[in-house]
């Protein structure tokens, strides 16, 4: 007699078994992945100019990113996920910078990159960011970074050289003579400074007397300065930074040029004290992205900046707390804020991995942030079209041995039409 099979599967059994199997599979296979995804740290790569001519910017950029990451982790991370930091030195060199960028993205698997101050490296990084689907925050200030040489993956949380000359045009330029001579470091940023100067001076009815470029790290500016006749020039535009602006100003002073000619610096003299600049210092006008001395800041920003500086080891005068070496106060806030732009973007978009980069981009496009511990430099807007921030800009001069802020121009007054619309790019 044939035995009744015990293995007969009823419809109820089938549903039970299938539901159990699916549930079990979800638990055994899927759930740990969800847990892992939740716990996997968000990796930020900081590519900074830790050696080479932009060393002063890079070492503070590194401290700034590290300080922001530490603060975020102390407060529970981003969307419950810890943040991990990887740092690489670009050596202020485009080839090395690009190599290190690839290492951060491909080997270290960084999700976001906080880029260096070097505009040349940033421009070379833009296609790599796109190719590797990696969002890159830039604080090089050449105009083209958020124009035809950037792309949708590049966000810049700091003003650019166009803002410098807009701020100068709104304040001191009208009082200066109209005959101007342009000098600049022979790379993207130096050319960008000169281009913007010409644009603004031409609008004001200025007359270009001459234009020269010199390599970064030029030791002797006298062969260049000899060509300037003080009877024919009112203003020298100097697209140089740190030691180059120092040498140019000092040697112009020694030649007696500064008796008649004023100098406009394309950047704040990062890393240099008033004493370093010597007697030539008070002949230069500077337009800066940030304020070096806490005493010169608007009251509402002081508490944020005191906390920010405490975390990165900078004192109220913009110096290293321990060594008293002058820092890069006009720029250092930008990498700090870049980390917080990452946080804002992830929180608003629900970003989980690089697959969500488009959602992240759309979240930041047009975002306005208020002055806070996260954004100590002040209020600012990330313009949707070109990913260019509009923040306040200062005009400064040395008076009686101290940097004095002559004007603070709010970001909204520095408007210029976007030169590109990255939103049209496919991601």
């Amino acid at each position: 007699m044939k035995k009744k099979s015990n293995n007969k599967l009823t419809r109820r059994d089938f549903i039970k078994t299938t539901a159990g199997a699916i549930g079990g599979a979800t638990i055994t296979l899927g759930f740990p992945n969800i847990i892992l995804a939740k716990k996997r740290p968000i990796r930020i790569g900081a590519l900074q100019d830790l050696t080479g001519p932009l060393y002063s910017f890079g070492r503070w950029g590194k401290r700034s990113v590290a300080g922001a990451v530490k603060r975020i982790n102390e407060m529970g991370g981003i969307a419950g996920r810890p943040v991990e930091l990887k740092v690489e030195d670009s050596a202020t060199n485009v080839q090395k910078g690009v190599m290190k960028l690839r290492k951060l993205i491909l080997k270290d698997k960084c999700d976001f990159i906080i880029g260096p101050c070097n505009s040349g490296i940033t421009i070379a990084s833009a296609p790599i960011a796109k190719e590797t689907n990696t969002i890159f925050f830039a604080y090089g200030t050449a105009l083209s970074i958020t124009a035809h040489k950037g792309n949708r993956y590049i966000f810049r949380g700091i003003n650019n050289v166009r803002h410098i000359f807009k701020a100068l045009a709104m304040t001191v330029l009208k009082e200066m003579g109209k005959r101007y001579y342009c000098m600049g470091a022979d790379y993207e940023w130096g050319h960008s400074v000169v281009d913007e100067a010409k644009r603004v001076f031409d609008k004001e009815g200025g007359k270009l007397i001459g234009e020269e470029y010199s390599p970064i790290g030029t030791e002797d500016f006298i062969p260049y300065l000899n060509k300037i006749n003080p009877d024919e020039v009112d203003v020298i535009i100097a697209g140089y930074f740190t030691k180059d602006i120092l040498k140019l100003a000092t040697q112009a002073y020694e030649l007696g040029l500064t008796k008649k000619v004023q100098i406009i610096g394309g950047a704040m003299p990062t890393g240099l004290t008033v004493k370093d600049l010597g007697p030539a210092g008070d002949k230069i006008w500077f337009s800066g992205y940030g304020i070096r001395r806490i005493a010169n800041m608007p009251e509402e920003l002081k508490k944020y900046n005191l906390e920010f500086r405490k975390r990165i080891g900078m004192d109220e005068e913009g110096r290293d707390i321990k060594t008293k070496e002058m820092g890069a106060a006009s720029y250092t806030w930008a990498p700090w804020e870049h980390v917080y732009w990452v946080k804002k973007g992830i929180e608003k978009s629900g970003w989980n991995s690089k697959k969500d980069n488009l959602k992240f981009m759309m979240a930041l496009e047009g975002m306005h942030v208020k002055a806070s511990y996260e954004f100590p430099q002040g209020d600012k807007t990330m313009r949707a079209e070109d990913h260019q921030v509009f923040a306040s800009q200062t005009v400064s001069k040395i008076e009686n041995g101290k940097f004095v802020v002559k004007a603070i121009i709010p970001g909204e007054k520095l408007y210029y039409p976007p030169l590109v619309d990255y939103r049209k790019e496919k991601v």
């Binding site: 030791e219 000899n226 030691k243 000092t250 020694e254």
Partner: protein, 286 residues
Amino acid sequence: MGKLILMQLLNGFVWGWLLALISIGLTLIYGQLEIINVAHGTMYTIGAVTTFYTFILFKSWSYALIISPLFMGILALFIYLSTIRFVVGGSPITTVIIAYGILFILEQLTLLIFGGVPRTIPNPIPQSITLFKGISYPLYRIFCAGFSIVVITLLLTFLKKTKLGLWIRATKQDHETAAAMGISVPFVFMFIFVLGSALAALGGVLAAPITGVTFDMGNNIVIDAFIVVIMAGFGSIPGTIVAALIIEMVIGLSAAFVNPVIAKVVGLAVMLIALYIRPQGIFGEE
């Protein structure tokens, strides 16, 4: 235009003497030890860095004229005794690799101690002399040229008139014969390495108030020094002086008409022409 040309020639003349002072150190070392000292630029940097610290300590630049070459001399003595003496007479590749090693160590130590931030030293002679109406030239630069001329003259006199100078010349001609005549060749080698390094440091002392001080400032000057030494013919002091003056004055003159970067290319072209005509260098031996 005439004024501009004269100004550029004067600037070239000044830099020519300063470069000659630095390059003589390089050529002395090669002439005796046959070591291509690529670390020579870093020794120039160390001269400038010690000038900065001397200025901080004594509030005077002039002390550095003694202290910096002395400090570099002691450091060079240590470098010679610990490494160089083992590779003298070795293959050029070995000596260049050793010199590169020294360069990296010295440069990174300088970065570690001095930091990457550029520093300045106030101009010790801040006055300028008026050359034409409304155009002046820094007096300190003229002092630099004058000081370099004095040091080079003293060096040439030392080499010609003293017993040690005679030893050095003899050793340069033939090591083995010099040794057979009782000259302590290892001592001459050591002395020359220390002297050449001290001359580089002295160049750094003079240049520091003009160029400022950075941890990597020697990287540019060492290229110029090599160009001068190649054009002069390795080991020739008079050739080095002539080559430095020709190159810097040609660069200066060209800079009146073209961008100073292009002017440097003109300087290089002059070197190439000189080498085409005299492949052994202006004063080099066949």
